[in-house]
Symmetry: D2
Subunit: 305 residues, 4 copies
């Protein structure tokens, strides 16, 4: 199992005829620490913003143009969800994360993965211990999120019990391996899902942005969001025009359903919040959806403050 | 979390114009127990052996023919790895398995999965306890397998430690949930990878057979092989002609590399085992590959007994 | 090559324990004519609206509930793009279409296809002749669409030339096959992309709705939109709740970019159209995006009429 | 539409920290002519043979080793079909080919494609004219292949008719575009499937080798095989160890079914050909399979010459 490495700069750059990205080069082999023992770093990449323009222009039978037109094209493509050209850019990362994070991560199927094997090699003594600040009660409003903070005493208690589990579990693992010579594939089954694993992960830009949209979301579990944010820093530098377009047209976009659009088109704004809520509920007949729409109207300053 | 259910027969069959499979119907909602708390059962399916013929014949512009010709076509398609027609058949299973098994399983990407969520719901108190007979030492010859048995005392020791881990882990989990109201997504991080999870899993026949080829293999971890065998029983009844062809041309097929084929074509058989091994090693310059080839020659009775 | 078939009802329904959909049953083997020689019909399906609820609830550890709650869940899932449960439903179609339509269609990669083979079988004498009403000039505003109508004379001319191409091409094909016995895989290379082909196409509901979102769009080429509309009719009856949710939250949804949302939140509405356009252009510095935003504001009645 | 370009060397190499492949660098932007107007050239790549070792070793928690061990590992992985590490290497090609070739090519779904658009841009006047030597009659033994040659007169006749189709079709196309201003998406429907199109195509090594296995096969249509062979030349230089392993263990491997293996293990060799054929037919009850097995035995010199 790999420790958080220093930046491992290869002895010297190589000459290549391949198009590069200065932003990506600066991130190669330069780990970003994530959680207590985890990391993410860029191992390799292919392509840059120009590669997207180049692929899109094949469909148009033309070469590259001025920077302003290229930027416009990239933004146009993303605005209208013409995403195939962004599949032409690839990123390869080396990542280390707790098993429960890896389990959420791997649900993204359109990526290539080579994971550390607990059948072939020994599992490390690294387990995720949350920082006190991120320990929180079950959210009331959201069945899968966190709500108010724990008391200091509760925080201590949680961490103490977790450490006890980890220590005991790892102690037993070592006894299985060292004393009994139990097959590794069996010895590891008592270890917790907080145990760290690691993998090589390769994915194209289109699918990576989809991953980021889900994993940067406030509803994603904090522990995977940390990895999403680390990756976003790298991607933002590697393909700055594409990433900006992604932020503008997807990450920070706002969507209105048919009913919501109809409601707006048949009312005058700004509306009184209480009146709006009442009318929306009547139209939508769904509390949750009403709540969601009221939130959007607030953000747009279409309700009287 | 679902217990091993009795067969849950829907009140009464429905009439359908869809083609069915008697073999598949008999397995619907009929769980096969796997390991101590796991199960697999068929939830739904689409298509049968005929559906493969029908799809293949479109490419040929013809309808179905005699049974013998249909069987011949299915076998021909598989023998020559024309696998697209077998994508036309689908199976949907409900499966319950330990997390470490689920982690191996999900590496098969061309399937659809909906898994029980430990963020949304509470994890059960079910953890995999191996039967004594399957506890074994690390294999000497194979870095990722099992070798000789443990002593009775060692078996007791392993099971005692595992149970201790599970009980303590689950006790802490309950304290997190019941006393501290810790967010479920955090409370579960101390639970072991032997904890059971469950999912709906939908996959087409082509990809399912690929799954089975890997997971029925003697090198697959025993705990996932058990699930592979349960699924194989169902598939064998659902599409008997295709499954037989799969056994004949893939599962029990034997492959010879270019070097192996050249060796055979330039020697007379049967050969003396020692002479064969020596000559092969000289030709291959690779111990492991030599070993593998000698094994194959033995199976074919091409070495003097 | 298959003619547009009458509804081919199997002799009698079969009994099955599988869940069915009355809406889907009614469409089985019942072709919808598309263009002059094409068709689409439903060959088989798996699952229904309930299957989505069932798969989603596994993640939640619960069974099915009341209809109103099920509907609410399906709509919630789609509103928030939790699309994996809708992968649990499958449709299989037999489709016949011109080659240039097939070429656009097959860009949707997450589907299974078995196509009629021009290497193995003879190509038919069926070529797409557009109706006069759909012949149109190149669009001025849109590089890949149609604009104003042709004159009656131009219509005649276009159809006459196309027919000449088809007849001559097919005549040569027959000579290649019948007189020269040229290999079929070569004989067909002079045939036009208007020649009809056919295939079996199997796809899950999630990917099918993505297909429909692109192919029902006004910017899709008319000739593939016709097929999209035929398929939409079938899907709407097969999974009515899911299809309604798709219409409400995707097909007829409206999206605002970060800049657009910011513009709305910092202005009072309704605005004067000219003033709005001027201000938006200043903020966006992009003519096309300004145009697109003005269109949206009009639809929402946020500009003074 | 792009003409066969000279090698377009970028003005000067750039420095990169990315691992490169000298073999791949030499092929960048260097087109290989395919058929009369087509080409393939390497636009970009990611990774090399080492990248496969590196990804595989993560699962083993170790770094790179000696060259001989690395070669052994790559060969071991391929021999046992552990193909995920080879997904870590990517190739991006610019290809130009007749539409009927593109239609076979695109059946490989796990690749990214951006194709020239006949809706957006004008189609060229380039159509595939076969060389006389490749014109052949329909094969007798194989429903989808070529057999004996045509007479010189027949060759002339075929080429004359094809040219007539192409010229007339293109002439009409120009009239549609230039005189009638017919929408491009309609104007092209009379053009033949021999018309050239082009695309950017990006694929990982694992899927590329699968493509090559099918498209280098003697049963692949000659016109796509030409492209397969061009790509194979490039890949062979880019990842020489992997390509050699692919040739040894897949391309030139020989497979025996269960029945074939049983037959070998229960007979003494060499056998008399006639006796062998008779016995095999009795055992297999399938003429075609018998023929295939006899061919293999001949290749292995297990039949008396």
């Amino acid at each position: 199992m790999n420790e958080l490495p220093e930046r491992l700069v290869p002895e010297s750059p190589e000459a290549t005829l391949r198009p590069g990205s200065l932003g990506a080069e600066a991130w190669l082999y330069r780990p970003i620490k994530c959680l207590d023992h985890g990391f993410v770093y860029l191992v390799d990449y292919m392509g840059n913003d120009d590669a997207i323009v180049q692929a899109a222009r094949v469909s148009y039978g033309k070469g590259t143009k001025k920077v302003s037109e290229d930027t416009g094209l990239i933004r146009y493509l993303r605005r209208h969800m013409h995403t195939t050209p962004s599949e032409m850019v690839e990123f390869k990362f080396h990542c280390k994360m707790p098993i429960f994070v890896a389990r959420q991560w791997i649900r993204h199927r359109t990526a290539s993965v080579n994971e550390y094997s607990g059948r072939y090699s020994e599992m490390s003594n690294e387990f995720y211990i949350p920082e006190k600040a991120v320990l929180a009660k079950q959210a009331k409003s959201n069945r899968q999120g966190r709500g108010e903070s724990l008391t200091a005493e509760q925080q201590e208690r949680v961490l103490a019990l977790l450490k006890e589990d980890y220590d005991r579990g790892h102690g037993h693992y070592r006894e299985f391996i060292d004393d009994i010579d139990l097959a590794r594939e069996l010895a590891r089954i008592g270890l917790s899902v907080a145990n760290y694993t690691e993998w090589y992960w390769k994915i194209d830009l289109h699918n990576l942005l989809h991953f980021l949209r889900l994993r940067l979301d406030a509803h994603a579990q904090y522990e995977i969001r940390v990895f999403g944010e680390a990756i976003a820093r790298i991607v933002k530098d590697a393909v700055p025009i594409s990433f900006k377009a992604f932020e503008d047209y997807q990450l920070h976009a706002m969507q209105f359903s048919r009913l919501e659009a109809e409601f707006i088109s048949t009312h005058s704004f700004p509306m009184d919040p209480a009146a709006a809520e009442k009318e929306i509920l009547e139209a939508f007949k769904n509390k949750r959806e009403t709540q969601e729409f009221v939130e959007k109207l607030k953000k747009l300053n279409l309700l009287i403050a």
